[in-house]
């Protein structure tokens, strides 16, 4: 599989750290020093997560010189879709005017990499020529806005990639370790009269220390695995594009991999943690500013609720 192009979209409304300090007991200085985040974009007004996905998809299609009729399958990576059902992928399909199959994939913040693996399998089977992957997230709808530890971390965004058969994905590794205790959110039990005791919705809960440990150790393991299996040395990689969860996770993983800071691009500063959308959105922004060039070798690495993790060695 090769990736032809990336696209991204952000909500219009940008919320700076100072605005959050009016809602919860925090400060710009604390958020910057503990997370690396300065601001984030949050859906408002008529914006929806599917409309963000559509914008990102159109950008990726335009950059590939393709139209929606060239797409044979739509996969949407989302942790918190627009509705419980139908799938956000189907909402995006309708708005794009596509007629191909469409389905969501929930693998937490690793969703984009899980979709890459699925797209690779579909393209190898040969009955589809191109797959559109859209990672569209509205994690701010899951956040507990009374919790200063987590509410400051997240933002909304969408990223997209157009993939077709070819040589590009040199190696990929995915993992899952079922653990519902350290990172989760729950929906309520509805009004079913037989549901006793009543199940209440629980907003996003996260055990920061456990996630930090998991993220750093698992990312480093996954990255070393894909490098070894792809026959590429770390020094030959142009960029390590990691899930944008927390600046300190990025810095610690980078230090353990003994690679220079310039190889670890970030968008967490202005976007916050945008879940599965972070990596494709960042790659799209790197396309825009010229950092991403044809022929470069990338390592993508993500981790998230599940717990899931994954890494991919990709030539663009």
């Amino acid at each position: 599989m090769k990736v032809l192009s990336f696209g991204h979209a952000l909500p219009a409304r940008e919320i700076a750290n100072d605005q959050l300090s009016e809602l919860v007991d925090t400060s710009d200085e604390w958020i910057r020093s503990h997370t690396g985040i300065e601001s984030r974009h949050i859906l408002s007004g008529d914006e929806t997560v599917s409309s963000l996905g559509v914008k990102a998809a159109r950008m990726a299609l335009d950059r590939a010189g393709l139209t929606v009729d060239d797409i044979d399958y739509i996969l949407c990576a989302t942790t918190c879709g627009e509705m419980i059902f139908p799938a956000t992928a189907c909402l995006i399909q309708r708005k794009l005017g596509a007629k191909c199959p469409a389905a969501d994939v929930n693998a937490g913040c690793t969703g984009f990499l899980y979709c890459m693996d699925m797209a690779d399998a579909m393209l190898l089977r040969g009955n589809v020529k191109r797959v559109l992957i859209v990672a569209a997230e509205q994690v701010t709808r899951l956040s507990d806005w009374n919790d200063r530890a987590t509410s400051v971390l997240f933002g909304d965004a969408a990223g997209a990639a157009v993939c077709e058969a070819g040589e590009g994905l040199l190696s990929i590794r995915l993992t899952a370790t079922g653990n519902p205790d350290v990172l989760y959110a729950k929906m309520d039990g509805g009004n079913c009269p037989f549901c006793e005791p009543k199940i209440k919705a629980v907003p996003l809960k996260m055990s920061g220390q456990e996630i930090f440990k998991y993220a750093v150790t698992q990312s480093c393991k996954d990255i070393r695995f894909v490098l070894e299996h792809g026959g590429v040395k770390a020094g030959q990689v142009d960029y390590f594009v990691l899930h944008q969860a927390n600046r300190r996770i990025l810095d610690t993983a980078r230090s353990r991999l003994k690679q220079p800071a310039g190889k670890f691009p970030v968008n967490i500063t202005t976007h916050g943690n945008t879940g599965a959308a972070g990596i494709p959105a960042l790659l799209s922004e790197m396309t825009e500013d010229g950092r991403l060039q044809t022929g470069q070798t990338l390592v993508l690495s993500a981790f998230g609720a599940g717990l899931t993790s994954g890494a991919a060695l990709l030539q663009v």
Partner: protein
């Protein structure tokens, strides 16, 4: 090297602290280590000693961490 000496060495390396300024009874807050600093210290300790160390709410001081490792 004792567990305490290993912890002091790791803190000296990663946080630029003087090992002589670190005492077993010191709390992480007193050492100006936040929760992610403690998680990083535990990870480095796991790497150094080759044993897993669980992080829980009882972990508040250097002595707590030493006890957790030595009582495994």
């Amino acid at each position: 090297m004792s567990t305490y000496e290993t912890i002091a060495k790791l803190l000296a390396e990663s946080k630029d602290m003087d090992p002589g300024d670190i005492r077993p009874d010191m709390g992480f807050a007193e050492l100006e280590l936040d929760s992610l600093d403690v998680a990083e210290l535990v990870m480095n300790l796991e790497d150094e000693l080759g044993v897993p160390v669980e992080i829980d709410e009882s972990l508040r001081t250097i002595a707590d961490l030493v006890a957790k490792v030595d009582n495994k």
